[in-house]
Amino acid sequence: MSTAAAVLDNPRIGRSPGHTATIYLKEAKYEFLKNLRLRVYSASVISFPLMFYVLFGLVLNSKEAIVGGTTMTAYLIATYGTFGVMGASLFGTAAGLAADRGLGWLQVKRASPMPPFAYFFAKVTLSMIFSAIVVSLLLVLGISFGGVRLPLAEMAKLLATLVAGSLPFSAMGLAIGYFAGPNSVPSVINLIYLPLSFCSGLWVPYMFLPKFMRQIALALPPYHLSQLALGIVGAGRHEPVATHWEVLIAFTLICLGVARIGFQRDQGKLYG
């Protein structure tokens, strides 16, 4: 049959934009459901920042304490909010990616017609949703028990800033996820995430850190995100907002570059 050659010629059978959008949404929906049901993820990502806040912000603290120009309880929403956003993003992307890669599931998805970008979109969206949940819960706690008073517009701005701030750490998570093995990834994340948080002034407020650490913090992305958040609650150090965003964007691009190297290197090799 003369049409046999034409048949193999592969006429462009594209997907409609509606179809593609459906795939992206479903991918994100199931990524969210999957992680929501995973107690290990959802409980720890949400509860750790809340626990720290309750302990250091509400219990071990008097409501009148002032730090950096605002109440301690408001201050800590910004810093633990940053901490929570980092955690949600790192664990949301790196852990899932490393496990999917190392144990063959990512191969099954790559072999399917799934648009590769949908996979990343789903992970980033997951990180953003959980970031939003953490920050919202911190705000609820702060307002209900910590005497925090913030205008609605400022709260919305805080939420938006921190959720946008999940993107650099999602990028970081992708970079980690492409190079770590599935068993080692939680340790790798914690080894990076916890010291990074401390040195950026997310636990002990920045002004109480020793001088040399305060210098180091200026180079750390979480410091910059927390400064943006602190600026909104009235405790910023009056540095130009643009600088902070520039650092975060540069950091995102570097991480995406690293992730891309990992993506190209990833030719079906399985790691333990």
Binding site: A4, V7, Q107, A111, P113, M114, G268
Partner: protein, 317 residues
């Protein structure tokens, strides 16, 4: 005429001579290890091809190349006449791979729903569940499934897009006899509907039961190719088994005997022609019992081929 071809016509008009997937002179190395060496291999429309080989022979590498999961170091990989990485080709193919982990907190129907969404004309959920025998398990989380049920779910993910070309990498590993037979039935249904299937297995009976054509692969090369009958014919014809006091060395002297093995109390003899050998045995030992004469199976052919091929080819199974 080319401009008016729609997708339904696309699949129906694949004539049997059409190459659906091929490896042309393909080599693939992992560092120093040569997984595939100048392999030429073709899958034609509507056939079931089994890629048969011991572990480490290169079967999974071949499948991964055909799925576009990696690039060959040399040669060309073609699926539907084009690059396997092309999403249009991926939308016409489905794959069942061996995986160590599948997200466990998603339900069976959710997994199927997600994979179905990638395709243009997926099968309805009920059809997929029925084909994979998962109707009662639709709401079960993947982590709560038994091994066999998990395999059936992976099979469901492979077929949910109603693909023209199906890759099955060791599909019945870990299944009990009943599930294995059920899966073979499903594969036969798919073939009857005109699908093309590439199956890898080290389970010889499976290749024998399902395949139109078998390619035996060992150490990165295809060492034999043909119908199951042709492959079986490549070894000596008959196997004779009996319980006898005769020693192996005596039996070896009988004309026509090519190999003798002792198996506990019995002797297993390979011979080109059964009747002369059997006559000689009965004459030599009147008290001989438990006489069985069968055709040498695929297993013998396979072992003979792979042992001849590699000087020190390890017997993995």
């Amino acid at each position: 005429m080319i401009a008016t071809l729609d997708e339904k016509q696309h699949t129906r008009e694949l004539n049997p001579a059409t190459e659906v997937a091929s490896l042309e002179g393909v080599s693939k190395n992992y560092g120093q290890v040569r997984a595939l060496c100048g392999v030429n291999f073709t899958v034609r429309a509507g056939e079931v091809v089994a890629l048969l080989g011991p572990n480490g022979a290169g079967k999974t590498t071949a499948v991964k190349l055909l799925l576009g999961l990696m690039q060959p170091n040399a040669g060309k990989v073609r699926v539907f006449g084009g690059d396997p990485v092309n999403p249009q080709n991926r939308m016409r193919a489905g794959a069942m791979l061996q995986v160590g982990r599948v997200p466990e907190t998603l339900r069976v129907r959710e997994h199927i729903d997600l994979f179905s969404s990638y395709y243009r004309n997926p099968l309805p959920l009920e059809t997929v569940l029925a084909a994979a025998g998962l109707e009662k398990l639709r709401d079960r989380k993947f982590g709560d499934l038994s091994g066999g049920q998990r395999q059936r779910t992976l099979f469901a993910l492979a077929i949910c897009g109603d693909p023209d070309l199906l890759f099955l990498d060791e599909p019945t590993v870990g299944l009990d006899v009943e599930s294995r037979r059920a899966l073979w039935e499903q594969i036969r249904h798919l073939v009857a509907r005109g699908k093309t299937i590439l199956l890898t297995t080290h389970y010889l009976q499976e290749a024998d039961a399902l395949a139109d054509r078998i390619a035996v692969i060992n150490q990165g090369e295809i060492i034999a190719e043909g119908t199951p009958a042709q492959i079986k014919a490549q070894t000596c014809g008959k196997r004779i088994r009996c319980i006898s006091g005769l020693s192996a060395s005596v039996v070896r002297q009988i004309p026509g005997v090519t190999e003798v093995k002792e198996d506990r109390e019995a002797i297993e003899i390979q011979a080109a022609e059964a009747e002369t050998v059997a006559r000689e045995l009965l004459a030599l030992d009147p008290r001989l019992s438990g006489l069985e004469i069968t055709s040498a199976g695929l297993e013998e052919a396979f072992l003979a081929l792979t042992q001849d091929n590699g000087q020190n080819a390890d017997r993995q199974s």
